[in-house]
Amino acid sequence: MANTDIEARKQELLNQGYTEVYTKTKVLTDAVMHYCPGCGHGTTHRLIAEVIDEMGIQDKTVGVSPVGCSVLAYNYFDVDFQEAAHGRAPALATAVKRLNPDTFVFTYQGDGDLAAIGTAETIHACNRGENITMIFVNNGIYGMTGGQMAPTTLIGMKSATTPYGRRVDLNGYPLRITELISTLPGTYYVTRQSVQNPAAVRKAKAAIRKAFENQKLKKGLSFVEILSNCNSGWKMTPVQANKWMEDNMMPNYPIGDIKVDGKLVENVDVNRLAVDHPLTVMQ
């Protein structure tokens, strides 16, 4: 259907007495996202844009995009945006917020950007308690450069640079940076969510909303990890990839709040070692 046909059809339904349950937010631009079919980045973008829309802060928001698959995020959000050097988004966001305290500032980074090359910037922005929102999309792989090992690649998981699977003796352990930064006094809200089904999407959106509300209340740093698939990098269909993520990523990266209102959630062991969990076969 052409755009005009779509709008005509929507109007027709409204005329028939239908109410609108869902339509794409205007905080996203009309640009077609370059992400692979079924990629969690698109969904995560949508949720952030919806939160900005619902809070009415489009005119006060500045986003910072990373290097990696989401480098072009600035084309998809209809808000002012800066594109950072690899790993440096939290440094940019620190200055944007400190110089413009009335803006809402969020960073959007992948696992390589945030947890490998940008580890120092991540930890120090968190430790300073910058009053910003950090969104961290973890799919355990470097998507943009062609599927190499990420700091969050699971033990045994294949990638372009671990073709026989990640080995602890060669590559060390998967880095659970979200648990790590949750122990810093500067972080106020730390959570891990996912976007593979409607229930998960609802929870992820609520987490992102909370992260932006915290910023409004000047509470300090809110950090939302979104566990995501990389069906191209994992060499699966999108639906298979979501299943594989549930079966293999989630035991290592458990979903849920880790720190709420500045306090670690009870029964969450942030020091627990990554699970040496036998992976289901990657196709």
Partner: protein, 72 residues
Amino acid sequence: MAFKGQIVIDTEHCKGCGVCLAACPMQCLELSKNVNGKGYNYTQTVNDKCIGCASCAMVCPDGVISVYKIKC
């Protein structure tokens, strides 16, 4: 109270990932045998069981699905 739903799919921008098919509780969706301008088998409705729950729209990475509902 029951609802009847309708969805409007921007088929030209659908990438045919199929995540919405897996999310739909009423099995209303399928991938078309036809392809759009980008060569993707886009999503289409296959029956009128839609209840307007918006699960499909919720998981769509590209925001191509709009959802409407009416009491019935």
